[in-house]
Amino acid sequence: MITRRDFILNTVKGVAGLALPLTAFEILSPNKLLAAKGDSSKVRWAFLVDTFKCVGCGFCVKACKLENGVPLDANVTRTWVERYVLVKDGRVFADNPKGALNGFTTSKIDLGVGNFHDIKKEDIEKAFFVPKLCNHCENPPCVQVCPVGATYQTPDGVVLVDRTWCIGCGYCIMACPYGVRFFHPVYKVADKCTFCYHRITKGLKTACVQACPFGARMIGNIRDPNDPISKIIRTERVGVLKDEYGTRPQVYYRGITREVI
């Protein structure tokens, strides 16, 4: 004969026991997991960099900082330009003074810790500039390692950071093979290039694309066969950075060489 006390206790236990798994399963729904396989978005943002056209003026770096609120005097940047100089004896010199915020206004290579190395014109075999920015990879390792879901990828391929949710652990920064992430000095959360999401979703160009006088940077929809960058990527010889990591980066480069890491 069940007592009243036992009955009440068992009911409470039963209800609590049922409520628990239901709230827990909200985190992972098998249906949603299966449905996520297909990619239905009509837009997939991609970027094209032409290293033949880039002259290292650095207007893009400054425009990005001013457009996106990264302080000019802070030594971090969402995009930067690297200079590569290959000399006759096979050595490669490379630098990026302040990320090319002020361009390249000396022939001396900045070696850090106050050292410089000047290169004479006759010793140069080839030299070029390589702008870099977030690749908004198809398999972003930074998103994979975020412990709390503060960084993510939108359906149209842009990787963003939720400033109200980021705990500032820095794992995403360590996981990015391209070094595009950093801690924002004011907001104290992870930050990086957003493909100027607030501009491209309004039909405008990113700040860096707009600022570049030489057309070295282009942004577009790789899923649209009529998009200019779509044509170039499909028909011309373009490369990507650090392809061996399996990240499938979506910033393509014309004129990239093996010296560029």
Binding site: A94, P147, M174, P185, I261
Partner: protein, 419 residues
């Protein structure tokens, strides 16, 4: 001049990309070091509870309580490191399990639950007896009132200390200790996974990382327990020499000494075993890297054999592994030699963490540049305090403070436990 996080203690050399700094600094070295001590202490305790190695009984109880004292301290380096520490709880609210760090929430809590429960079962008889004694006492001081409340709450409502109940406690401890070993391994294995799975970092990326971390964690845990055990025993000897009683029982100096050296010799054997395992794995990793010589080997070689040669081969392998190895192998082990050996082992394990965390950030993603780490000694602002020597010292001291507090609730010595 606006300093970004990491800029104050990083010097860049040659070709480094603009956003690269040593973001994971001393606190991220401390974190695996502390969790390693936690895991190691627990495994030591379980060697007695699960495998019944009788000589380890004394140190087992001590190791268990110390393990609990270390547990909250494992969280300290993370809180000091996070740029938004108040959001740390999000790991429990919206965990992203594709990230190794998200496992922290589950593993840490599970491990904490196991250790706390095991201590409860081990001390239950003492708790119940103390609770009943305090409850029946008529005039309690305010301190005793708090004590009475504490112990009565700790009984979790059960005052049954019959033979049958104690027998059940014993079985529960055995199960928990057994289950706890893989969880303790996981607690530190996942820390190794955090590093080993980062494909972007040429030094960290290896499947051996979780195993290396576990092995050196166990080594450090055993070493710390041996050290603290010796220290406590020395204090007890001093008190016994002055004919003072400790915790209600009196043991002569000879009795104490006798217990000590047997326990130490036994534990040292296990220490050596895990030490050999840890060294073998690390050397294996190094040999493989040199043999396969992939693209990143050039810069790694300049770090391992050049820039960090002192840190790796002299401090970690030499002073931290080889010297204590010899010290423990020489027959006729004395307490003094043990103390030196154990301190060197702890130093070696710390250097291993340092060489992995800092070493992995010593070279640029360009594979053509270096970053030099300068540990902030004198803090100039909050950041150089948290992520500097002061912050590290804070983390080191806290477990001992917590152990002192816990010892008042769960006395480690001179108490008849449930079995």
């Amino acid at each position: 001049m606006m300093y970004v996080h990491g800029e104050e203690w990083t010097i860049k050399e040659l070709f480094v990309t603009p956003n690269e700094y040593i973001y994971w600094s001393i606190q991220i070295v401390m974190y695996p070091f502390m969790t390693g001590l936690v895991a190691g202490a627990f495994v030591l305790s379980s060697l007695y509870h699960v495998f019944g190695i009788k000589q380890l009984k004394e140190i087992a109880r001590f190791a268990l309580v110390f393990s609990l004292a270390l547990l909250p301290v494992a969280m300290m380096p993370l809180q000091l490191h996070l740029q938004q520490p108040q959001r740390g709880i999000e790991v429990f609210l919206t965990p992203h399990f594709t990230s190794a760090i998200a496992a922290f929430g589950i593993v840490f809590s599970a491990y904490g639950a196991i250790v706390a429960s095991e201590i409860w079962f081990v001390y239950r008889k003492y708790i119940v007896e103390t609770a009943m004694a305090l409850r029946s006492k008529p005039d309690k001081s305010s301190g005793e009132k708090i004590q009475s409340l504490l112990y009565n709450v700790l009984t979790l409502g059960s005052y049954d200390i019959s033979e049958n109940a104690l027998h059940q406690d014993e079985k529960a401890v055995k199960i928990l200790a057994g289950v706890g070993i893989p969880v303790a391994c996981f607690l530190h294995g996942y820390a190794g996974f955090i590093f080993g799975s980062v494909k972007a970092n040429a030094l960290w990326m290896t499947p051996l990382m979780p195993v290396i971390f576990i092995m050196s964690a166990v080594v450090s845990g055993i070493a710390l327990c041996m050290l603290t055990y010796i220290v406590v025993m020395e204090i007890r000897k001093i008190l016994a020499a002055r004919k003072k009683t400790t915790y209600g029982t009196y043991q002569s100096t000879d009795e104490i000494k006798g217990i000590e050296i047997n326990v130490i010799k036994m534990t040292a054997k296990y220490l050596l075993f895990f030490l050999i395992f840890a060294i073998s794995l690390e050397l294996l990793d190094l040999i493989f890297r040199g043999y396969t010589a992939v693209k990143t080997w050039d810069i790694l070689r300049s770090i391992i054999y050049g820039k960090d040669f002192l840190d790796i081969f002299v401090f970690q392998y030499g002073i931290g592994n080889l010297v204590p190895f010899i010290l423990f192998l020489i027959p006729g082990l004395t307490i003094r030699r043990t103390v030196i050996g154990v301190l060197l082992v702890l130093f070696g394990v710390f250097m291993m963490r340092w060489n992995v965390v800092i070493g992995g950030q010593s070279f640029s993603l360009t594979f053509a540049g270096f970053m030099h780490y300068h540990l902030p000694i004198i803090p100039t602002n909050l950041e150089t305090f948290k992520e500097g020597l002061m912050g590290a010292v804070m983390v080191i001291i806290t477990p001992f403070v917590l152990f002192w507090i816990l010892n008042k609730i769960f006395p480690v010595f001179g108490v008849e436990e449930s079995h």
